[in-house]
Amino acid sequence: MPLALRVVQSLSEAAGILAADSRTTLLSGGTLVMRDVNEGRLTDGTLLRVTDPAWQQIQVSGTRIELGAGATMAAILAQRELGFLHAAARAVGGPAIRNMATIGGNLFAAAPYGDFAVALLALDAQVMVLAGYGSPRAVPIEEFLAGRSRGEARLVASVQFNRPVAPGDFRFLKVSRVKPKGLSVLSIATHLPGHASRIGQARVAYGAMGPLPVRARGVERALEGKALDANGIAAARAAALEGVQPVTDAIASDWYRREVLPVHLGRLLANQS
């Protein structure tokens, strides 16, 4: 049976369909799903489209930010108020991909993709999840990503997080061999409140250093309570590889990723990347 298509208006209806039928694939921007269709990897079941405009909404109210899962990277780039996220949104593909690729899809993209998800991990985002009919439930992004690797069928309605307080608290770096557009050798996002004097709760996340975006807990511990000076950066570099399991793919070997990660982390922390 070839692929069928179903179009629904509401997110809750879509969530109900996804929960009930494991052969239904949600289509968001389609950059990964349509690839699977074209390559013959996805040949039967149903494609599900949601037309609810709320899915694409971006809301910035005071310090809280909510990005609809259907919002594209280009939509983020069009919002001046989200300037701190521009490096992460610009890291995804070329201009046409950015016009299509969504936040929701990026949360499901396998390494070395998922650059934007790395930024969301460092921001401690809450993923608003609909598991069947009903209202969304907030799931911490780390827990969400662990559930993703178990293949749980859930619909992401949006992601929420607090805006970093000071400019420079949040930083993002993607390292690729082809510029300006290339796949990640690795990506790093850091959220270091108080970096100018004494770092409070540190968040550091990596992409392509494991099958999922991962927190660099060793680096976080090394930085907490410290200033972002030469000593702090040296301690962070020394802890850079704790808990990483880099992937080997056509872009780089796990050995190469391990070799260059501390260097790029050091540069990002010193603001020299």
Binding site: P2, R35, L47, A74, G93, G94, A96, I97, P180
Partner: protein
Amino acid sequence: MAKVPVQFRLNGSDRAAFADPADSLLTVLRRGLNDFGPKYGCGQGTCGTCSVLIDGGLRLACLTLAASCEGASIETVSGMADGPNLHPLQTAFMEHFAAQCGFCTPGMLTAAKALLDRNPNPSREDVIDAIAGNICRCTGYEPIIQAILAAARTLPAQRRS
């Protein structure tokens, strides 16, 4: 499997086609509507030769579900010239030898048009970024970059101010 009807504007004309539910826009353009301007290179989003403008925004037709284009306005390279008058980008591509085998050209022209429609006065970096999703295996890119910069200079002055 039942076909799904799709209607959209294609290069200024209303067009309709019946598509398989999971057909890409590229399949519908080429097989259904005989618009052979956008090419099928990779079907994976990597080469950019299928680039089209959907409601003014650059998209990859191979990764766009045709059924999602209902009511949209689509521009392809086939609609770029105004009758016998080439678009300034097309003229500049000819003058700067920016096409060799020509397979990337539909995508390059479309990506360049998306840039100039939004930014008629681009820097070299803007041009490089605009064509970052398009692969050319012949020219080495430099003639393409020069052609796009030259085309921008020929746009009417009021568009560049």
